[in-house]
């Protein structure tokens, strides 16, 4: 449309059109392609700062997917990312943003530590108790925001976020105060909790990843197949329609937020019993916030959270390795950002299709057209201010 209308026949233009429906396979392909494109961009950046992209990619892959140690580390890191991702994702189904997974994780870890340190009994009994305590503590930590949201319509973003700082300080107090291990070489952490999640063989990978996968499966199934899940899907998209059909809207808001908190609490328990074993103020490496990214990239779908959490774990670990190769922290952050951005764009792009349109030739004289010739004068295109 830019310049010549005279050569109308066959002038092509490209435009994006929203798809009426998107096939899941197509979505997956779009996401993978977008990540590959992002790697290409990252490669250009690395090239520009004078390093070899191929070499860096080799190192990154070798240190993560390419070696058993790297792969194990990725799985260990993926566990809390996936759990926190699930925590946020389940809220997203109801249009609720739980920004407090971080705090709920801390409280879950705290409660699990309390059980682990002070309740006597065999590991086989203590671990389930720690699990329950972690889940309960996480749920309890979101209870006030959840009640406020369900019954007083108080925005949950602020309330859940602010409670994070309370939780972190609370844990810090115990880690460096009453529960502190005064043993040699221990910095600001509690005693080692004897009950530990089993690991796969000799690896570092603990059963937390199984818990994460199981929760993802159960959630996906519950949302897609149960009557409760149906209510969540309806209410999440249109609260008034939920009321219209007589669904218990407030109760479901409350329930979903408690589940969200409980899953984040389990993330804390899993980190403590599977990975770090001592409670400290550094038990979480921003997992609660990373979980928001994971959930958003998964568009709230629990099954998609699994690969996305794993991908993010690889990215973060590769970042650490590449920093050792001389790529600065900032560059690494930029590259991670690019990849996440592309992944998000890839999903949006999968909702559209590219169509080629041609200007319709030969239609100028329709019934009422009275033979007005169209291009008598205005070709210069300057006919506007």
């Amino acid at each position: 449309m830019k310049r010549s209308d005279r050569t109308t026949a066959g002038k092509r233009s490209f435009r994006l059109m929203r798809r009426a429906e998107t096939k899941p396979l197509y979505e997956v392909i779009c996401r993978i392609v977008s990540v590959l494109l992002a790697l290409l961009v990252a490669g250009v950046v690395i090239k520009l700062i004078g390093m070899s992209p191929i070499l860096m990619l080799q190192k990154a892959l070798k240190s993560t997917l390419g070696s058993s140690y790297g792969f194990e580390q990725a799985l260990v890191l993926a566990t809390p990312l996936i759990l926190c991702g699930l925590s946020v994702a389940v809220g997203l189904r109801m249009n609720i943003w739980n920004i407090g997974a971080e705090g709920q994780l801390f409280m879950g870890a705290w409660a699990a530590t309390w059980v682990g340190l002070f309740v006597p009994g065999p590991t086989a009994l203590i671990l389930p108790l720690m699990f329950i305590a972690g889940a309960l503590a996480g749920a309890l930590w979101i209870l006030i925001p959840a009640l406020a949201r369900a019954f007083l319509n108080v925005n949950e973003i602020i309330t859940t976020l602010l409670l994070n700082f309370v939780a972190i300080l609370f844990v810090n107090y115990f880690a460096i105060g009453p529960w502190r291990d005064s043993g040699v070489g221990i910095l600001l952490a509690t005693k080692r909790v004897p009950a530990e999640l089993p690991t796969f063989g000799n690896s570092y990978v603990h059963y937390g990843i199984l818990i994460a996968a199981a929760i993802a499966l159960v959630l996906a199934f519950a949302i897609q197949r149960t009557k409760w899940g149906y209510e969540i899907r309806i209410i999440g998209r249109n609260r008034r329609a939920g009321r219209f059909a007589g669904m218990p809207v407030n109760r479901n808001i409350l329930l979903v937020m408690l589940i969200s908190g409980a899953i984040a609490g389990v993330a804390g328990m899993s980190e403590l019993a599977g990975n770090v074993h001592r409670l400290s103020g550094t038990i979480s490496n921003q997992y609660g916030y990373q979980g928001i990214i994971v959930a958003a990239l998964s568009s709230g779908s629990p099954l998609v959270v699994l690969p996305v959490g794993f991908l993010l774990a690889i990215l973060l670990n590769a970042g650490i390795v590449l920093q050792a190769q001389g790529i600065s922290v900032n560059t690494m952050l930029a590259i991670n950002g690019v990849i996440l951005l592309f992944a998000a764009v890839g999903w949006v792009a999968s909702q559209y299709r590219l169509v080629v349109t041609r200007d319709q030739p030969g239609d100028e004289m329709e019934e009422g057209g009275e033979g007005i010739s169209m291009d008598e004068e205005g070709e210069g295109g300057s006919g506007r201010e």
């Binding site: 435009r15 059109m17 009426a20 009557k227 149906y230 899907r233 249109n238 329609a241 205005g378 506007r384």
Partner: protein, 524 residues
């Protein structure tokens, strides 16, 4: 009915749109459309929803860029890149949903984002300027009133002034009466006439046939993205226009009820209900509807209709009184109880309440059924049964859709409403509460919905039809009640109901004055 005000046929129209093409996902909204607008005319652009009339005007007003075609204004070719360029060239549009800042005054809204507003101006000067603008165009508005304090009609006047003040020679009104009361609509058409007489061109986008007849000089009819007719309004009547719109004969005319009504199915006894601000919305009203009967509720919006629909469907609590359906007391029932007792509900705002735009047709279809077998099995939703149910409903309600997995928001308004009406009619074995069921629908979908109401009635249910469209109420109802300020201001049998009596009662007048029953005009 200004018949002799037709403008002389000028050789060159003010606006010439030629061969306009515009596509959207899945549809060609404008397909080689030509349109001429003359100076000093009111030009109606008529068509069903989705016929492409709004799209065409969005193109003219610089909001959409067409894929092909030319626009000339006063002979000069225009290529608008933005609405502000269009307004610069004298094309202004007033949207169906107003774009005003609720908390600001009328004067502030008129001057907001306008290049000619002085950078620094005192409140008094602003008001003065506004009053000058009002005088200039002969439209009165209280400059100091905040938008939320104004009625919709007054808000619309602010919108119109906003556009006129910016120098619009061509004023486009998108479905302007959809938000107005009948009286406000009459006022609006006086304004459009006055503007046309002053040499401005007014485009009236509408799907209401009577408005075309009442307010326009010429009419262009569109169907499925194409212009199907251009006429002088004097040479048209409603039936001709309706045929041009949908391309077939109307059936709404012959809908008289067969047989005599049966037993009382809905008994409402002295109910009082409060609205969301906790003010009384219904005051001790009583009525009954019998099987096979449609009771029409006439009234201007805000006189208790929404609350009535909500209280009958379990969405609002009764303060006092009782509601019984087929002898069963539903005074304290919730929506689930109402549904299981055979009460269906077509709410006024389909995507706001009755349907979930982002959810599939399957999920929307089973909203009333997911708790009962075969769709419910234990704690699960039986997927296969749900899909079968949705397909059945789609077929039964004549919903046009590629499949049942796509989100409901991808359907046209008419198809959405067919789905909703179909779903609720299935539930309504005893009572169907229908609120503005054909609002915003094109003629074809309107027919389908009305036929469905009649079918529900003929199947032996009671139907409560709440509508602001008096023609619709008169057309479909066996009996009519008028709601005014939460009370029943009058009750009529269809045979003895007269437009002006009802119109008078809707506006709060007394019954005696209109009781004589001289019908000023025949319907249809």
């Amino acid at each position: 009915m200004s018949i002799d005000l037709l403008p002389k046929q000028t050789p060159s129209p003010l606006v010439e749109m030629r061969n306009i093409w515009k596509r959207f996902p899945g549809v060609i909204a404008n397909q080689a459309v030509d349109l001429d607008l003359l100076e000093g005319e009111v030009h109606a652009l008529l068509g069903e929803n989705g016929a492409g009339k709004s799209t065409l005007m969005y193109v003219l007003a610089g909001m959409y860029r067409p894929e092909a075609g030319t626009i000339r204004i006063a002979g000069e070719e225009m290529r608008f890149k933005s609405p502000s360029q269009a307004i610069g060239a004298g094309v202004g549009m007033v949207h169906q949903h107003f774009r005003l800042v609720e908390k600001m005054t009328a004067a502030e809204n008129i001057h907001l984002g306008w290049g000619e507003t002085p950078k620094i101006i005192s409140a008094r000067d602003l008001v003065e300027r506004t009053e000058r603008i009002c005088r200039q165009f002969g439209l009165s508005v209280d400059p100091d009133a905040r938008i939320w304090q104004l009625s919709t009609g007054e808000q619309q006047r602010v919108e119109i002034l906003r556009v006129l003040a910016r120098g619009a020679r061509i004023l486009i009104l998108d479905e302007p009466t959809s938000v107005l009361t009948p009286n406000e609509a009459v006022e609006l058409f006086k304004v459009t006439r006055k503007l046309a007489e002053a040499g401005r061109t007014v485009v009236l986008i509408t799907h209401k046939l009577d408005e075309v007849i009442a307010a326009s000089d010429r009419v262009t009819v569109m169907r499925r993205g194409k212009v199907v007719a251009r006429r002088k309004t004097v040479s048209c009547d409603q039936a001709t226009l309706a045929r041009l719109c949908i391309g077939e004969e109307l059936v709404s005319e012959a809908v008289g009820s067969k047989g005599s009504p049966g037993k009382a199915l809905l008994e409402v006894n002295r109910i009082t209900v409060r609205d969301n601000r906790n003010l009384p919305a219904l005051r001790e009203i009583s009525f009954t509807i019998r099987a096979g009967e449609i009771l029409g509720v006439a009234g201007v919006a805000g006189n208790g209709q929404s609350e009535l629909a909500e209280v009958l469907t379990g969405l609002r609590r009764l303060e006092s009184g009782s509601v019984a359906v087929d002898g069963q007391d539903l005074s304290d029932a919730d929506p689930i109880k109402c549904t299981s007792s055979g009460v269906g509900h077509i709410p006024e705002d389909r995507l706001g309440m009755g349907l979930v735009g982002g959810a599939s047709l399957i999920d929307n279809s089973i909203l009333r059924e997911y708790r009962s077998p075969p769709i419910s099995r234990g704690i699960f939703v039986e997927r296969g049964a749900a899909v079968r149910f949705a397909r059945e409903l789609v077929k039964e309600a004549n919903v046009i859709t590629p499949n049942v997995r796509i989100p409901v928001r991808n359907l046209s308004g008419g198809n959405q409403q067919r789905l909703l009406v179909g779903r609720e009619s299935r539930v309504a074995s005893k009572l169907l509460v229908a609120m503005h069921p054909t609002q915003g629908l094109d003629v074809g979908a309107m027919e389908a919905v009305r036929r469905n109401l009649i079918k529900t009635r003929d199947a032996g249910s009671a139907v409560l039809l709440i509508s602001e469209d008096l023609d619709e109420v008169l057309l479909l109802s066996s009996r009519i009640i008028v709601l005014y300020e939460g009370r029943i201001a009058g009750e009529f049998d269809r045979s003895e109901a007269h437009r002006e009596t009802i119109g008078l009662l809707m506006g709060g007048g007394r019954e005696e004055e209109g009781g004589a029953g001289k019908s000023r005009e025949e319907e249809a």
